[in-house]
Symmetry: C2
Subunit: 235 residues, 2 copies
Amino acid sequence: MKPTIEICLSPSLLHTYNLEGKIAVVIDVLRATSTICTALHYGAEKVIPVATIENCLQFKNEPNHLLAAERDAKLPEGFVYGNSPKQYMTDEVKNKTLVLTTTNGTKMLHLCHAAETIAIGAFTNMNALAEFLLQQQKPVLMACSAWKDKVNVEDSLMAGGIVHRLKNDFTMACDSSKMMEQLYGLAKNDLYEYHRMANHFGRLQNLGADFDLRFCLTENETPVVPVLKEGALIK
Amino acid sequence: MKPTIEICLSPSLLHTYNLEGKIAVVIDVLRATSTICTALHYGAEKVIPVATIENCLQFKNEPNHLLAAERDAKLPEGFVYGNSPKQYMTDEVKNKTLVLTTTNGTKMLHLCHAAETIAIGAFTNMNALAEFLLQQQKPVLMACSAWKDKVNVEDSLMAGGIVHRLKNDFTMACDSSKMMEQLYGLAKNDLYEYHRMANHFGRLQNLGADFDLRFCLTENETPVVPVLKEGALIK
Protein backbone atom coordinates (compact mmCIF):
# COMPACT_ATOMS: atom_id res chain seq x y z
CA MET A 1 0.00 0.00 0.00
CA LYS A 2 1.16 3.50 -0.82
CA PRO A 3 1.83 5.88 2.07
CA THR A 4 -0.53 8.84 2.41
CA ILE A 5 0.26 12.49 1.77
CA GLU A 6 -1.84 15.32 3.21
CA ILE A 7 -1.68 19.12 3.34
CA CYS A 8 -2.62 21.08 6.45
CA LEU A 9 -3.18 24.66 5.27
CA SER A 10 -2.82 26.44 8.62
CA PRO A 11 -1.77 25.83 12.24
CA SER A 12 -5.45 26.32 13.11
CA LEU A 13 -6.31 23.20 11.12
CA LEU A 14 -3.61 20.98 12.62
CA HIS A 15 -6.05 19.38 15.09
CA THR A 16 -7.92 17.85 12.12
CA TYR A 17 -4.85 15.77 11.24
CA ASN A 18 -3.08 12.98 13.05
CA LEU A 19 0.69 13.44 13.29
CA GLU A 20 1.62 10.09 14.79
CA GLY A 21 4.12 8.06 12.80
CA LYS A 22 4.26 10.73 10.11
CA ILE A 23 6.88 12.95 8.59
CA ALA A 24 5.71 16.53 9.09
CA VAL A 25 7.17 18.95 6.56
CA VAL A 26 6.98 22.49 7.93
CA ILE A 27 6.65 25.17 5.24
CA ASP A 28 7.05 28.93 5.54
CA VAL A 29 8.15 29.89 2.05
CA LEU A 30 8.24 33.67 2.70
CA ARG A 31 10.69 33.45 4.29
CA ALA A 32 11.59 31.30 7.33
CA THR A 33 11.98 27.90 5.72
CA SER A 34 13.72 29.31 2.65
CA THR A 35 16.13 31.04 5.04
CA ILE A 36 16.75 27.82 7.00
CA CYS A 37 17.55 25.93 3.78
CA THR A 38 19.83 28.75 2.64
CA ALA A 39 21.81 28.93 5.89
CA LEU A 40 22.39 25.16 5.88
CA HIS A 41 23.21 25.11 2.18
CA TYR A 42 25.83 27.83 2.74
CA GLY A 43 27.47 25.81 5.47
CA ALA A 44 25.79 26.65 8.76
CA GLU A 45 26.20 23.70 11.14
CA LYS A 46 22.66 23.92 12.44
CA VAL A 47 19.64 26.13 12.92
CA ILE A 48 17.92 26.24 16.32
CA PRO A 49 14.30 27.35 15.93
CA VAL A 50 12.98 29.17 19.00
CA ALA A 51 9.52 30.50 19.77
CA THR A 52 10.26 33.91 21.29
CA ILE A 53 12.74 36.74 21.08
CA GLU A 54 13.60 36.12 24.74
CA ASN A 55 14.47 32.48 23.94
CA CYS A 56 16.66 33.73 21.11
CA LEU A 57 18.54 36.21 23.30
CA GLN A 58 19.40 33.45 25.78
CA PHE A 59 22.02 32.28 23.27
CA LYS A 60 23.78 35.65 23.07
CA ASN A 61 26.96 34.56 24.89
CA GLU A 62 27.37 31.28 23.03
CA PRO A 63 30.39 31.20 20.71
CA ASN A 64 29.74 30.77 16.96
CA HIS A 65 26.02 31.51 17.35
CA LEU A 66 24.19 33.99 15.14
CA LEU A 67 20.99 35.37 16.65
CA ALA A 68 18.24 36.02 14.11
CA ALA A 69 14.69 37.29 14.50
CA GLU A 70 11.70 38.50 12.52
CA ARG A 71 8.33 39.87 13.58
CA ASP A 72 5.67 41.02 11.09
CA ALA A 73 8.18 40.66 8.25
CA LYS A 74 10.59 43.12 9.94
CA LEU A 75 13.81 43.00 11.96
CA PRO A 76 13.09 43.55 15.68
CA GLU A 77 15.19 46.16 17.48
CA GLY A 78 18.63 45.03 18.53
CA PHE A 79 18.96 42.31 15.87
CA VAL A 80 21.40 42.30 12.95
CA TYR A 81 20.32 38.99 11.44
CA GLY A 82 16.76 38.62 10.24
CA ASN A 83 14.62 36.42 8.07
CA SER A 84 16.09 37.30 4.68
CA PRO A 85 17.85 34.39 2.94
CA LYS A 86 20.13 36.96 1.28
CA GLN A 87 21.90 37.56 4.59
CA TYR A 88 23.00 33.93 4.75
CA MET A 89 24.47 33.58 1.26
CA THR A 90 27.96 34.11 2.58
CA ASP A 91 30.89 32.24 4.05
CA GLU A 92 30.21 34.04 7.33
CA VAL A 93 27.60 31.40 8.21
CA LYS A 94 30.00 28.48 7.71
CA ASN A 95 30.05 26.20 10.77
CA LYS A 96 27.90 28.67 12.68
CA THR A 97 24.75 27.91 14.64
CA LEU A 98 21.82 30.10 13.67
CA VAL A 99 19.23 30.72 16.41
CA LEU A 100 16.03 31.82 14.67
CA THR A 101 12.60 33.07 15.74
CA THR A 102 9.96 34.13 13.21
CA THR A 103 6.29 35.15 13.20
CA ASN A 104 4.87 31.96 11.72
CA GLY A 105 7.38 29.32 10.74
CA THR A 106 8.88 28.53 14.12
CA LYS A 107 5.37 28.34 15.64
CA MET A 108 4.28 25.57 13.24
CA LEU A 109 7.54 23.74 13.87
CA HIS A 110 6.79 23.56 17.58
CA LEU A 111 3.17 22.53 16.99
CA CYS A 112 4.32 19.51 14.97
CA HIS A 113 6.27 17.94 17.85
CA ALA A 114 4.08 14.79 17.82
CA ALA A 115 5.32 13.81 14.34
CA GLU A 116 7.89 11.03 14.01
CA THR A 117 10.17 13.24 11.92
CA ILE A 118 10.08 16.97 11.24
CA ALA A 119 11.60 18.23 7.99
CA ILE A 120 11.67 21.64 6.34
CA GLY A 121 10.16 22.53 2.98
CA ALA A 122 10.54 25.48 0.63
CA PHE A 123 10.46 25.98 -3.12
CA THR A 124 14.24 26.21 -2.88
CA ASN A 125 14.57 22.57 -1.76
CA MET A 126 11.61 21.02 -3.67
CA ASN A 127 13.33 18.21 -5.56
CA ALA A 128 15.70 17.25 -2.77
CA LEU A 129 12.78 17.07 -0.34
CA ALA A 130 10.61 15.03 -2.74
CA GLU A 131 13.49 12.59 -3.19
CA PHE A 132 13.94 12.31 0.58
CA LEU A 133 10.21 11.65 1.16
CA LEU A 134 10.16 9.04 -1.58
CA GLN A 135 13.04 7.21 0.09
CA GLN A 136 11.44 7.28 3.54
CA GLN A 137 8.16 5.61 2.46
CA LYS A 138 6.31 7.01 5.48
CA PRO A 139 3.02 8.96 5.59
CA VAL A 140 3.64 12.66 5.06
CA LEU A 141 1.85 15.74 6.38
CA MET A 142 2.78 18.97 4.60
CA ALA A 143 2.30 21.59 7.34
CA CYS A 144 1.82 25.15 6.07
CA SER A 145 2.75 27.89 8.53
CA ALA A 146 0.34 30.37 6.90
CA TRP A 147 0.24 34.06 7.92
CA LYS A 148 -1.04 34.47 11.47
CA ASP A 149 -3.13 31.35 10.91
CA LYS A 150 -4.62 32.68 7.67
CA VAL A 151 -4.18 30.37 4.68
CA ASN A 152 -1.69 31.75 2.16
CA VAL A 153 -0.86 31.04 -1.47
CA GLU A 154 2.87 30.48 -1.17
CA ASP A 155 2.90 27.76 1.51
CA SER A 156 -0.17 26.04 0.03
CA LEU A 157 1.40 25.89 -3.43
CA MET A 158 4.77 24.68 -2.25
CA ALA A 159 2.95 21.86 -0.44
CA GLY A 160 1.01 21.23 -3.65
CA GLY A 161 4.29 21.04 -5.58
CA ILE A 162 5.51 18.20 -3.38
CA VAL A 163 2.20 16.36 -3.82
CA HIS A 164 2.56 16.95 -7.57
CA ARG A 165 5.94 15.24 -7.54
CA LEU A 166 4.82 12.33 -5.34
CA LYS A 167 1.26 11.68 -6.46
CA ASN A 168 2.05 8.45 -8.27
CA ASP A 169 3.81 7.00 -5.26
CA PHE A 170 1.61 8.33 -2.45
CA THR A 171 -2.15 8.43 -1.83
CA MET A 172 -3.54 11.98 -1.64
CA ALA A 173 -5.55 11.55 1.53
CA CYS A 174 -7.27 14.89 2.10
CA ASP A 175 -9.11 17.31 -0.16
CA SER A 176 -6.52 20.06 0.42
CA SER A 177 -3.78 17.87 -1.01
CA LYS A 178 -5.76 17.34 -4.23
CA MET A 179 -6.74 20.99 -4.62
CA MET A 180 -3.24 22.34 -4.05
CA GLU A 181 -1.68 19.75 -6.34
CA GLN A 182 -3.89 21.13 -9.11
CA LEU A 183 -3.18 24.76 -8.32
CA TYR A 184 0.54 24.09 -8.38
CA GLY A 185 0.02 22.81 -11.91
CA LEU A 186 -1.34 26.24 -12.87
CA ALA A 187 1.49 28.13 -11.17
CA LYS A 188 4.61 26.08 -11.76
CA ASN A 189 5.76 27.65 -15.01
CA ASP A 190 6.27 31.04 -13.42
CA LEU A 191 6.03 30.97 -9.65
CA TYR A 192 7.16 34.59 -9.27
CA GLU A 193 4.49 35.99 -11.60
CA TYR A 194 1.83 33.72 -10.13
CA HIS A 195 2.55 34.91 -6.61
CA ARG A 196 1.84 38.53 -7.46
CA MET A 197 -1.68 37.68 -6.30
CA ALA A 198 -0.47 36.60 -2.84
CA ASN A 199 -1.15 39.06 -0.03
CA HIS A 200 2.31 38.54 1.46
CA PHE A 201 3.98 39.21 -1.90
CA GLY A 202 2.72 42.79 -1.77
CA ARG A 203 3.69 43.13 1.88
CA LEU A 204 7.29 42.06 1.16
CA GLN A 205 7.59 44.13 -1.99
CA ASN A 206 6.58 47.20 -0.01
CA LEU A 207 9.43 46.38 2.35
CA GLY A 208 11.90 46.29 -0.56
CA ALA A 209 12.41 42.54 -0.40
CA ASP A 210 12.15 41.79 -4.12
CA PHE A 211 15.42 39.86 -4.17
CA ASP A 212 14.02 37.59 -1.48
CA LEU A 213 10.77 37.13 -3.37
CA ARG A 214 12.60 36.09 -6.53
CA PHE A 215 14.90 33.77 -4.63
CA CYS A 216 12.23 32.15 -2.43
CA LEU A 217 9.98 31.59 -5.46
CA THR A 218 12.67 29.79 -7.46
CA GLU A 219 12.84 26.04 -7.23
CA ASN A 220 15.89 24.03 -6.19
CA GLU A 221 18.33 26.84 -5.32
CA THR A 222 19.24 25.13 -2.02
CA PRO A 223 19.20 21.34 -2.46
CA VAL A 224 19.29 20.38 1.23
CA VAL A 225 16.75 18.64 3.47
CA PRO A 226 16.81 20.14 6.96
CA VAL A 227 15.60 17.67 9.61
CA LEU A 228 15.01 18.35 13.31
CA LYS A 229 17.34 16.43 15.64
CA GLU A 230 17.55 17.23 19.34
CA GLY A 231 16.01 20.63 18.92
CA ALA A 232 18.14 21.77 15.99
CA LEU A 233 17.72 21.61 12.24
CA ILE A 234 20.59 19.93 10.44
CA LYS A 235 21.18 18.77 6.86
CA MET B 1 -14.30 51.57 -3.59
CA LYS B 2 -15.34 48.01 -4.28
CA PRO B 3 -16.52 45.89 -1.34
CA THR B 4 -14.27 42.98 -0.34
CA ILE B 5 -14.95 39.29 -0.78
CA GLU B 6 -13.17 36.62 1.24
CA ILE B 7 -13.37 32.85 1.68
CA CYS B 8 -13.01 31.18 5.07
CA LEU B 9 -12.27 27.51 4.33
CA SER B 10 -13.24 26.01 7.71
CA PRO B 11 -14.91 26.95 11.02
CA SER B 12 -11.43 26.55 12.57
CA LEU B 13 -10.22 29.50 10.49
CA LEU B 14 -13.12 31.81 11.27
CA HIS B 15 -11.14 33.65 13.98
CA THR B 16 -8.76 34.94 11.29
CA TYR B 17 -11.61 36.91 9.68
CA ASN B 18 -13.65 39.82 10.91
CA LEU B 19 -17.41 39.36 10.52
CA GLU B 20 -18.58 42.82 11.54
CA GLY B 21 -20.66 44.65 8.95
CA LYS B 22 -20.33 41.74 6.52
CA ILE B 23 -22.67 39.37 4.77
CA ALA B 24 -21.65 35.86 5.79
CA VAL B 25 -22.65 33.21 3.28
CA VAL B 26 -22.72 29.82 4.97
CA ILE B 27 -21.96 26.92 2.63
CA ASP B 28 -22.42 23.19 3.19
CA VAL B 29 -22.90 21.91 -0.34
CA LEU B 30 -23.14 18.21 0.63
CA ARG B 31 -25.85 18.58 1.74
CA ALA B 32 -27.24 20.96 4.37
CA THR B 33 -27.31 24.21 2.42
CA SER B 34 -28.50 22.50 -0.78
CA THR B 35 -31.30 20.99 1.29
CA ILE B 36 -32.23 24.35 2.83
CA CYS B 37 -32.44 25.94 -0.62
CA THR B 38 -34.50 23.02 -1.89
CA ALA B 39 -37.03 23.11 0.95
CA LEU B 40 -37.56 26.85 0.51
CA HIS B 41 -37.72 26.55 -3.28
CA TYR B 42 -40.43 23.87 -2.93
CA GLY B 43 -42.49 26.12 -0.73
CA ALA B 44 -41.43 25.60 2.88
CA GLU B 45 -42.22 28.75 4.86
CA LYS B 46 -38.95 28.69 6.79
CA VAL B 47 -36.07 26.55 7.99
CA ILE B 48 -34.99 26.75 11.62
CA PRO B 49 -31.37 25.64 11.97
CA VAL B 50 -30.62 24.10 15.37
CA ALA B 51 -27.36 22.88 16.84
CA THR B 52 -28.37 19.62 18.52
CA ILE B 53 -30.79 16.74 18.12
CA GLU B 54 -32.28 17.69 21.52
CA ASN B 55 -32.97 21.24 20.24
CA CYS B 56 -34.65 19.74 17.21
CA LEU B 57 -36.89 17.43 19.25
CA GLN B 58 -38.15 20.40 21.30
CA PHE B 59 -40.29 21.31 18.27
CA LYS B 60 -42.00 17.92 18.07
CA ASN B 61 -45.44 19.14 19.20
CA GLU B 62 -45.52 22.26 17.02
CA PRO B 63 -48.07 22.09 14.20
CA ASN B 64 -46.77 22.18 10.59
CA HIS B 65 -43.18 21.53 11.69
CA LEU B 66 -41.01 18.88 10.06
CA LEU B 67 -38.16 17.68 12.23
CA ALA B 68 -35.00 16.80 10.27
CA ALA B 69 -31.58 15.63 11.38
CA GLU B 70 -28.32 14.26 10.09
CA ARG B 71 -25.20 13.00 11.81
CA ASP B 72 -22.15 11.65 9.95
CA ALA B 73 -24.11 11.76 6.69
CA LYS B 74 -26.79 9.44 8.15
CA LEU B 75 -30.33 9.70 9.55
CA PRO B 76 -30.27 9.49 13.37
CA GLU B 77 -32.66 7.01 15.02
CA GLY B 78 -36.24 8.24 15.33
CA PHE B 79 -36.08 10.68 12.43
CA VAL B 80 -37.98 10.41 9.15
CA TYR B 81 -36.62 13.59 7.56
CA GLY B 82 -32.90 13.88 6.98
CA ASN B 83 -30.39 15.88 5.02
CA SER B 84 -31.27 14.71 1.50
CA PRO B 85 -32.66 17.44 -0.77
CA LYS B 86 -34.63 14.70 -2.57
CA GLN B 87 -36.96 14.39 0.42
CA TYR B 88 -38.04 18.00 0.07
CA MET B 89 -38.89 18.04 -3.63
CA THR B 90 -42.54 17.58 -2.88
CA ASP B 91 -45.68 19.56 -2.13
CA GLU B 92 -45.59 18.07 1.37
CA VAL B 93 -43.16 20.79 2.45
CA LYS B 94 -45.41 23.64 1.27
CA ASN B 95 -45.98 26.19 4.06
CA LYS B 96 -44.20 23.93 6.52
CA THR B 97 -41.43 24.90 8.93
CA LEU B 98 -38.40 22.65 8.69
CA VAL B 99 -36.33 22.28 11.89
CA LEU B 100 -32.88 21.06 10.83
CA THR B 101 -29.72 19.94 12.60
CA THR B 102 -26.68 18.67 10.65
CA THR B 103 -23.08 17.68 11.38
CA ASN B 104 -21.39 20.73 9.91
CA GLY B 105 -23.68 23.28 8.26
CA THR B 106 -25.74 24.35 11.23
CA LYS B 107 -22.56 24.70 13.31
CA MET B 108 -21.03 27.25 10.92
CA LEU B 109 -24.33 29.11 10.80
CA HIS B 110 -24.26 29.62 14.55
CA LEU B 111 -20.57 30.62 14.52
CA CYS B 112 -21.32 33.45 12.07
CA HIS B 113 -23.73 35.25 14.43
CA ALA B 114 -21.57 38.39 14.49
CA ALA B 115 -22.17 39.05 10.78
CA GLU B 116 -24.61 41.77 9.75
CA THR B 117 -26.50 39.36 7.50
CA ILE B 118 -26.32 35.59 7.18
CA ALA B 119 -27.25 34.03 3.84
CA ILE B 120 -27.05 30.48 2.53
CA GLY B 121 -24.99 29.32 -0.43
CA ALA B 122 -24.99 26.16 -2.55
CA PHE B 123 -24.25 25.32 -6.17
CA THR B 124 -28.02 25.10 -6.57
CA ASN B 125 -28.50 28.82 -5.85
CA MET B 126 -25.26 30.22 -7.35
CA ASN B 127 -26.59 32.84 -9.76
CA ALA B 128 -29.42 34.03 -7.51
CA LEU B 129 -26.95 34.44 -4.65
CA ALA B 130 -24.38 36.28 -6.80
CA GLU B 131 -27.12 38.65 -7.97
CA PHE B 132 -28.22 39.25 -4.35
CA LEU B 133 -24.66 40.00 -3.20
CA LEU B 134 -24.11 42.35 -6.11
CA GLN B 135 -27.21 44.30 -5.14
CA GLN B 136 -26.23 44.54 -1.47
CA GLN B 137 -22.82 46.16 -2.10
CA LYS B 138 -21.53 45.02 1.30
CA PRO B 139 -18.33 43.13 2.15
CA VAL B 140 -18.85 39.38 1.87
CA LEU B 141 -17.37 36.45 3.75
CA MET B 142 -17.99 33.08 2.12
CA ALA B 143 -18.01 30.69 5.12
CA CYS B 144 -17.34 27.05 4.28
CA SER B 145 -18.70 24.54 6.76
CA ALA B 146 -16.07 21.92 5.82
CA TRP B 147 -16.19 18.35 7.17
CA LYS B 148 -15.56 18.26 10.90
CA ASP B 149 -13.36 21.33 10.44
CA LYS B 150 -11.34 19.73 7.64
CA VAL B 151 -11.22 21.78 4.43
CA ASN B 152 -13.25 20.14 1.65
CA VAL B 153 -13.43 20.53 -2.11
CA GLU B 154 -17.16 21.09 -2.52
CA ASP B 155 -17.62 24.03 -0.14
CA SER B 156 -14.34 25.64 -1.21
CA LEU B 157 -15.27 25.47 -4.89
CA MET B 158 -18.79 26.75 -4.42
CA ALA B 159 -17.31 29.74 -2.59
CA GLY B 160 -14.82 30.11 -5.45
CA GLY B 161 -17.70 30.09 -7.92
CA ILE B 162 -19.27 33.11 -6.24
CA VAL B 163 -15.93 34.94 -6.26
CA HIS B 164 -15.61 34.00 -9.94
CA ARG B 165 -18.95 35.69 -10.66
CA LEU B 166 -18.20 38.78 -8.56
CA LYS B 167 -14.49 39.36 -9.09
CA ASN B 168 -14.93 42.40 -11.29
CA ASP B 169 -17.18 44.12 -8.78
CA PHE B 170 -15.52 43.06 -5.52
CA THR B 171 -11.92 43.04 -4.25
CA MET B 172 -10.61 39.54 -3.50
CA ALA B 173 -9.19 40.25 -0.09
CA CYS B 174 -7.63 36.99 1.08
CA ASP B 175 -5.45 34.39 -0.61
CA SER B 176 -8.10 31.69 -0.24
CA SER B 177 -10.54 33.72 -2.32
CA LYS B 178 -8.03 33.97 -5.17
CA MET B 179 -7.01 30.32 -5.06
CA MET B 180 -10.56 29.00 -5.00
CA GLU B 181 -11.69 31.35 -7.74
CA GLN B 182 -9.03 29.76 -9.96
CA LEU B 183 -9.89 26.20 -8.97
CA TYR B 184 -13.55 26.84 -9.75
CA GLY B 185 -12.41 27.80 -13.24
CA LEU B 186 -10.92 24.31 -13.63
CA ALA B 187 -14.01 22.57 -12.31
CA LYS B 188 -16.96 24.53 -13.60
CA ASN B 189 -17.53 22.68 -16.85
CA ASP B 190 -18.35 19.43 -15.07
CA LEU B 191 -18.78 19.82 -11.34
CA TYR B 192 -19.98 16.25 -10.86
CA GLU B 193 -16.97 14.68 -12.55
CA TYR B 194 -14.58 17.08 -10.84
CA HIS B 195 -15.91 16.21 -7.41
CA ARG B 196 -15.09 12.53 -7.81
CA MET B 197 -11.83 13.50 -6.11
CA ALA B 198 -13.62 14.87 -3.02
CA ASN B 199 -13.46 12.66 0.07
CA HIS B 200 -17.13 13.30 0.87
CA PHE B 201 -18.18 12.33 -2.66
CA GLY B 202 -17.00 8.79 -2.00
CA ARG B 203 -18.59 8.77 1.44
CA LEU B 204 -22.01 9.74 0.03
CA GLN B 205 -21.77 7.38 -2.94
CA ASN B 206 -21.15 4.51 -0.56
CA LEU B 207 -24.37 5.51 1.21
CA GLY B 208 -26.27 5.32 -2.10
CA ALA B 209 -26.79 9.09 -2.37
CA ASP B 210 -25.87 9.49 -6.02
CA PHE B 211 -29.06 11.37 -6.83
CA ASP B 212 -28.14 13.90 -4.14
CA LEU B 213 -24.59 14.21 -5.46
CA ARG B 214 -25.83 14.96 -8.98
CA PHE B 215 -28.42 17.40 -7.71
CA CYS B 216 -26.16 19.25 -5.25
CA LEU B 217 -23.41 19.55 -7.87
CA THR B 218 -25.69 21.14 -10.47
CA GLU B 219 -25.88 24.91 -10.60
CA ASN B 220 -29.05 26.95 -10.29
CA GLU B 221 -31.60 24.22 -9.61
CA THR B 222 -33.08 26.21 -6.70
CA PRO B 223 -32.93 29.95 -7.46
CA VAL B 224 -33.66 31.22 -3.94
CA VAL B 225 -31.54 33.17 -1.44
CA PRO B 226 -32.22 32.00 2.11
CA VAL B 227 -31.47 34.69 4.68
CA LEU B 228 -31.53 34.37 8.47
CA LYS B 229 -34.23 36.49 10.20
CA GLU B 230 -35.09 36.01 13.86
CA GLY B 231 -33.53 32.58 14.02
CA ALA B 232 -35.11 31.20 10.87
CA LEU B 233 -34.04 31.01 7.24
CA ILE B 234 -36.54 32.50 4.82
CA LYS B 235 -36.52 33.31 1.12
